[in-house]
């Protein structure tokens, strides 16, 4: 847009947001632990709290990405690295959590209503996270544990999709 003025942000402002993002990451990990226990007890309500935490992290990360682009004094390699590391940490932690949920759910022959929503939510999450982790900016930086998790994710996705559409109730005829 011609003549558009973009507010430039100070390093201190962005540092404050990065610190808030770290707090969100801790919140996601805590919520994941809680919901893992609840899934074993077949209580599903804690799951939406976990997803809300993930969404909050995601929203704040988008805000930070844009603010890093409009930093007063130009780009800051150190802040950008810190942000990328935090994103990578979150992606690998989310992948581990999704794998954990899917392992529990894939062992069930009959899924009660609440757990079907979790299964579908996790299927989409694992697919998206796997795609992001395979981007060039993360590929070279992921740990061997995360690389193994990506392989497992591929196997689990294939397994669940083989059982679709009956398991996923996609509204199309069952596989032969």
């Amino acid at each position: 847009m011609a003549g558009k003025m973009v507010t430039q942000h100070t390093r201190a402002e962005v540092e404050g947001l990065l610190s808030a993002l770290e707090g969100h990451a801790d919140g996601v990990i805590e919520a994941a632990k809680l919901v893992s226990n609840k899934i074993n007890e077949q209580e599903w309500h804690a799951y939406s709290a976990f997803r809300d935490r993930c969404d909050d992290f995601d929203t704040l990360a988008i805000v930070i990405e844009y603010r890093l682009k409009n930093l007063r004094g130009g780009r800051d390699a150190q802040l950008e690295r810190q942000f990328e590391e935090l994103q990578l940490f979150m992606l690998t932690a989310t992948l581990q959590t999704s794998l954990h949920f899917l392992r529990i759910l894939s062992q069930k022959n009959d899924l009660p209503l609440g757990s079907k929503d979790i299964l579908l939510g996790e299927l989409r999450s694992i697919y998206r996270v796997k795609q992001l982790l395979e981007l060039d900016r993360y590929k070279a930086k992921i740990s061997s544990r995360a690389a193994k998790d990506i392989e497992t994710a591929e196997e689990i996705l294939s397994l669940i999709i083989e059982r679709a559409p009956s398991l996923l109730q996609l509204g199309v005829a069952e596989d032969a």
Binding site: K4, V6, G16, V63, Y66, R124, G171
Partner: protein, 180 residues
């Protein structure tokens, strides 16, 4: 069943028929998304957000089926599957374009509000993520060549609205009360 060329061909035909059926269901899903977006958008103009939940649900249904189709297509080694992959990519690009357009509309309505009630704030955050991620995906090599002029213009508008909305974000989203 014995693994003979005839049996393999027969199995491939069965799988292709299944994928065709899923693609038809995906097309129907796309139509549902468009209709739900219209309803949600009409409601949001009047500060009602119930239809928005339905819109997000049909988008999720579309995404789930799209993932299943993508995996099934990846496993097919058949020339006929290429035509289906082409159709699948066209449909996905169309859907991503529609989502960018719908999210832009929602964010325009919401960003004009000075006060945001709780329901509106959730929609605002959800649409911020939706626009960002749809834009991120649609700008990859896989889809960028398939976009029409309208979508290209929407992507430019999306970048501008993301900038504006994100400027106001800490205050609107209450990430950090000390901000702004």
């Amino acid at each position: 069943m014995l693994i003979t060329p005839e049996n393999v061909a027969k199995q491939n035909e069965v799988q292709l028929a299944k994928i065709r059926e899923m693609l038809t269901a995906l097309e129907q899903g796309a139509t549902r998304v468009i209709m739900a977006a219209r309803q949600a958008s009409a409601d949001a103009s009047q500060d009602k957000y119930h239809a928005y939940l339905n819109f997000r649900e049909v988008v999720d249904d579309f995404d789930t089926l799209a993932i299943v189709i993508e995996y099934k297509l990846k496993r097919m080694r058949d020339e006929k599957a290429e035509a289906l992959s082409e159709k699948f990519d066209e449909l996905t690009a169309f859907m991503l374009s529609s989502i960018v357009s719908a999210s832009l509309h929602f964010l325009r309505i919401l960003s004009e509000k000075t006060e945001m009630p709780l329901g509106a704030r959730d929609v605002f955050k959800s649409e911020l993520r939706s626009l960002y991620h749809a834009k991120d995906r649609i700008e990859t090599d896989r889809y960028i060549g398939r976009l029409n002029e309208r979508t290209r213009a929407d992507l430019i508008a999306a970048e501008q609205i993301l900038e504006v909305v994100i400027e106001k974000a800490p205050r609107l989203l209450r990430f950090d009360d000390k901000e702004d």
